[in-house]
Symmetry: C2
Subunit: 431 residues, 2 copies
């Protein structure tokens, strides 16, 4: 059954790379039996080839010259797990141009240069696979590319950042303030010393761009993604959400909009209120999940580890087996030709909203507040009032409204004498 | 981009078949753009070709001779959605022997003749794809075959029967007795007039056999699967489970056992107590989900619609695109050579258990009951006692124990004078 070995060239050997080398070694026989493929590591490019890495690889295979790995005619498949844009971008382009399939876990690279790289791979007829770049161990890329290739997908919503999900879970379950939950995430190694990329949604926006490209077959980069993070979410927001049987999740949302000619999509990352009986609400701690809605398939959800060396390496190995198999069979895994997309700005997208407003507690105020909503075509679904002495807190949930109209409503409320402050605004998703 | 059309021959045109024909028609342009494939329906075999089916297909393509569809040299790919063993078995064998890829949604056929058909497809180098046979719209087959091809999977646990999950959800959420929940499922069309195949776990056992084959690369048929249904689950069981922060789910479980030489597996279907914070507990109503545990990947869960014409047709279309693509590229989707498996009988498998025992409420009884557990090496994790006048109810949760020992414990308890009755026994999973 076993054919000639497929030689793998690795660029990088950090957490994921080391876990991959161990997994390739452990699973060699099982992979050969089930797929007929013999994977063999041919070279590993690292910064310091002399360092002991405790991986089952001949030390002579380490090199500090990644370009030599890509150029080596003995190398059949390139695995890029070095991260960052440069030199990863140049090396991946070089490999594809040489007709070598590439497996990468580099979301940053794909979110900025994805459309260019997909087209290059498509043109060269070689695989560019990147399961590990979005939602770690969850095989969402393959599902979007293959299982759902014929499905009219309408929306993809993901909890794709484990750090922020951990923080929001702690805030909800332990009634912890944001700062304390962040500190715990940092202590446990879930958050970096500078947590900006996670908590401001930058990491999630990169993944949103990749998911939108594959779900809708369009060219989207991270710059197209509207983005809000979780750093302004308060314990009170979480408490009010709970009272309304909702939780707060940072969601990456890509959706098809049936307007105009050609593909028109919305793509955004922001905290959202999610009803507690929605499957996404059950995704806790640092887990990830992607919820897919399609016209035929209905609702699907995929849940798993979003990060970590071994889970991510498992996803890379799945891609590597796929690429190696396609190599032996001389064809590539197709992405298809991506179309340019009209990305609808957030102002034109529709959502239901949660709004918290503090007002003077005197007669006539509620009617004036409600008039502001009506003036801007925002219809109120429910309202709760809570007295706080001389002031009162109003909690509104609206019906679906345009973001532009909601923002105008916020401005209108700000201009009312009786309104002391407009507190949190959160989009409500999944009701 | 578009190559010559791929001609599809359909065997059967019921719910799923009709939904597939509509979906192929609707998605024709999108599929061509994304995959370069032009799918064209070439023939549809049905019992009554004269009947109006309201599908976008030339009426002249209907025939009552399924063998002619398989034999037709104009037909490139065969889609079997007729169900049942005969004549589906003969037709699928015939198609594979002619070198035609087959897409089927027929779990009954695969659960009884799967290993034979997989070997036939493998030998002929053609695709046999059957995503829709297990958990409907959830692409679990592709994940096991491809994404997780290199993963050391340890256990797969599925809620793979929507009818029983609906019944158990109603019993838990509306405190409905079993009979009433079953009647509602029948009223809503979720359960058949004769519900045996669903409620006794026969349907789930067929799916367990298929999942075990793919997860562990071994030959397993439905006859190898230990099976218990839900018809004896009472409202009290559900209530006690709830008090212990568990719910009751009918699970199909396939697990690897690290004993002996060669692959040794356990495969079973039975109701199980699942902790409320386990992802499977959030799977409600008629939804399905499959939970996968692997050494590298950690925990994964896939959630979606288990049945219904459109969701199932979406899964069939995904397979059809895959098979059509492989046809153009002249290679098949590999299952690999399945190994014979040692299937461990249920008596040797380990689990934690929930036991409810009614005893005389007098001194010394608990110690005699506990001694029976100890005599059979079953260790008690927790016990709750509830007085009921002259008798008392004891609720035990055990540590992991062998089924054989647990059964001996039950017999021992039955033989005690002070024990009035041994009530429910449920396996506890996911703690």
């Amino acid at each position: 059954m076993e054919s000639a070995p497929v030689r793998v060239g690795m660029l990088g050997c950090g957490n994921v790379g080391a876990a991959l080398l161990i997994l390739i070694n452990e699973q060699h026989a099982a992979v050969a039996r089930r797929t007929g493929l013999a994977l063999e590591v041919g070279a590993v490019a690292v910064r310091d080839p002399g360092r002991d890495r405790n991986v089952p690889v001949d030390p002579g295979l380490f090199t500090d010259d990644p370009a030599s790995v890509v150029a080596n005619p003995e190398i059949d498949v390139v695995v890029e797990v070095m991260g960052g844009i440069d030199p990863a971008h140049r090396l991946v382009v070089e490999a594809l141009e040489r007709g070598k399939p590439v497996v990468t876990a580099n979301k940053e690279l794909l979110a900025s240069h994805g459309p260019e790289l997909y087209a290059l791979a498509e043109g060269a007829g070689v695989d560019l696979l990147f399961e590990a770049a979005v939602a770690g161990a969850i095989p969402i890329m393959r599902l979007l590319r293959e299982s759902l290739a014929g499905e009219p997908i309408t929306r993809v919503m993901g909890i794709v950042n484990g750090t922020t999900n951990f923080i929001l879970s702690r805030m909800a379950e332990e009634a912890m303030p944001y700062g304390e939950a962040l500190a715990e995430a940092q202590r446990l190694g879930y958050a970096e010393a500078d947590p900006t990329a996670d908590v401001e949604g930058i990491d999630a926006a990169a993944k949103a761009a990749i998911m939108a490209s594959l779900a809708f077959g369009v060219r989207v980069t991270a710059d197209d993604v509207y983005r809000e993070g979780i750093s302004s979410i308060t314990s009170e927001d979480i408490e009010f959400a709970g009272r309304l049987d909702h939780c707060i999740k940072l969601l990456a949302i890509a959706e098809r909009r049936d307007v105009g000619d050609g593909p028109n999509i919305g793509v955004r990352v922001h905290p959202a209120m999610v009803p507690l009986d929605h499957p996404l609400a059950s995704v806790r701690d640092s887990f990830n999940a992607v919820f897919v809605e399609g016209e035929a398939v209905g609702e699907l959800m995929f849940y798993g580890r979003g990060a970590g060396g071994r889970p991510t390496a498992s996803a890379v190995l799945g891609d590597l087996i796929n690429a190696a198999g396609n190599l032996r069979r001389s064809h590539g895994a197709r992405i298809g030709n991506l179309q340019p997309a009209v990305v609808t700005p957030i102002e034109e997208l529709e959502s239901a909203y949660y709004l918290e407003v503090e007002v003077d507690d005197r007669p006539g105020v509620l009617s004036r507040v409600a008039a502001v909503f009506g003036d801007h075509d925002v219809s109120i679904r429910s309202m709760e009032q809570e007295g706080l002495g001389v002031e009162a807190r109003l909690i509104f949930i609206t019906h679906a409204a345009r973001e532009r109209d909601l923002r105008a409503t916020l401005e209108g409320l700000d201009g009312l004498d009786a309104v002391r402050s407009v507190g949190s605004m959160l989009r409500v998703v999944g009701d």
